[in-house]
């Protein structure tokens, strides 16, 4: 910063915003070097980006469903902001998939033209929120977990993934804060809000164990991917803090079993996923040549 003019120093003209990503609207990675680093399996990297991208895309869609339904106008905008942040993360990750697998396919291909069994998101992301307590419980759990993963991912051997994670960390920190504030407010609120928050965590918790089960792809991508089992302790710490401030206890409920040994990361989803995708994909499939 130049100090030869006192007024410039006062005006705080220093701008450290960095353009880590391309500015093309059609291709979020335009202008970015997307070469797969040597020694990294492109197919595995593509699968990994798909997992993280699908988590964000599917949760974002669930949050978008709250538009016009949120209890207050201010929270409606807050929820939409979180949904948009996640959609931005999904765009970058799905675009990365299309470069890493060598197919050159764009983000739209992955979002709109895959079947349910090809989606790799964890099942908690697709879970419907029956009330506002379930919404904030879900967002708290998923963003706490994702933030812990993204913090480690900043050191990934794939520079594109590391940059995407770096951008996401600030966003996720805010999402977690928003959800935590509401969990505390509702948990430590009235008799009704407390009871509904307890019920919400009982609903969400069976799908928590799945978040920390490493997939073969994550095991193979040593140095590139983050082993989700590593972040369990950090997740437990954060949740314990928030739940105790909210006068809630960690639920004791059995984990939801997979189907034929498979869970979200293997493309085995709950029955709600089909309906979600029908809504998400119907326009793109009805008008495959449409542009927006």
């Amino acid at each position: 910063m130049a100090f030869d003019n006192a007024y410039e120093a006062l005006a705080d003209a220093h701008d450290d915003a960095r353009w880590a990503f391309g500015t093309g609207f059609d291709n979020p990675l335009s202008g970015v070097d997307t070469t797969v680093p040597s020694g990294v399996d492109g197919e595995d990297l593509a699968q990994y980006c798909l997992m993280l991208g699908d988590d964000a895309l599917v949760l974002s869609h669930r949050l978008q469903q709250w538009c016009t339904r949120a209890p207050e106008l201010e929270d409606e905008v807050a929820i939409a902001n979180i949904g948009l942040d996640l959609l931005g993360q999904a765009r970058l990750l799905l675009a990365r998939t299309g470069r890493a697998d060598g197919s050159g396919r764009g983000e739209d291909h992955y979002a709109y033209f895959r079947g349910e069994h090809e989606f790799r998101n964890v099942r908690l992301a697709e879970r419907e929120h029956a009330d506002f307590a379930q919404l904030v419980a879900t967002v708290l759990v998923l963003t706490t977990w994702r933030l812990a993963v993204f913090q480690r991912l900043q050191a990934s051997a794939d520079p594109v993934l590391a940059a995407i994670a770096q951008k996401g960390v600030n966003e996720l920190t805010y999402h977690r804060d928003y959800a935590a504030q509401w969990v505390v407010r509702l948990g430590d609120g009235t008799e009704t809000s407390h009871a509904r928050t307890v019920a919400a965590f009982d609903e969400v918790w069976p799908l928590v164990a799945e978040l920390f089960e490493p997939h073969d792809v994550e095991r193979r991508l040593d140095g590139v991917a983050v082993d989700p089992a590593e972040v369990r302790a950090e997740f437990d710490d954060v949740l314990a803090q928030v739940l105790s401030a909210a006068t809630l206890e960690t639920p004791v409920v059995p984990a939801k079993a997979g189907v034929a040994g498979g869970k979200g990361r293997n493309g085995r989803h709950t029955e709600q996923m089909g309906y979600l995708l029908a809504e998400l994909q119907s326009v793109a499939r009805a008008y495959p040549e449409a542009t927006w």
Partner: protein, 94 residues
């Protein structure tokens, strides 16, 4: 309506601005929530680096009825305006 959240006024200091400027209002249950809502409603396009919120009820405001006694006497005192100086070119925000 009972149980409605109180009204807050929001002030945002822009990246290159020197003071907080009133940008609008919102409803929130308390100060913390008001700050969060202000961030979500009024800094979506990278407008700010600092936010103030204050309950609208806590603002003492001049009354429109007293407008003339309050403000009219200053209208004809041209000597109070520093318009007779030349401002150096490298002094911004003046």
């Amino acid at each position: 309506m009972t149980g409605e959240w109180p009204l807050y006024e929001v002030f945002v200091r822009g990246k290159r601005g020197l003071n907080h400027v009133h940008v609008g209002s919102l409803r929130a249950a308390d100060d913390d929530m008001a700050l969060h809502h202000a961030r979500d409603l009024y800094t979506r396009r990278n407008e700010g680096v600092s936010i103030w919120v204050v309950k609208a009820a806590d603002i003492a405001a001049s009354s429109p009825d007293e407008k003339d006694p309050f403000f009219a006497p200053s209208a004809d005192k041209v000597y109070r305006h520093p318009t007779f100086y030349e401002i150096p070119e490298n002094v911004p925000h003046m």
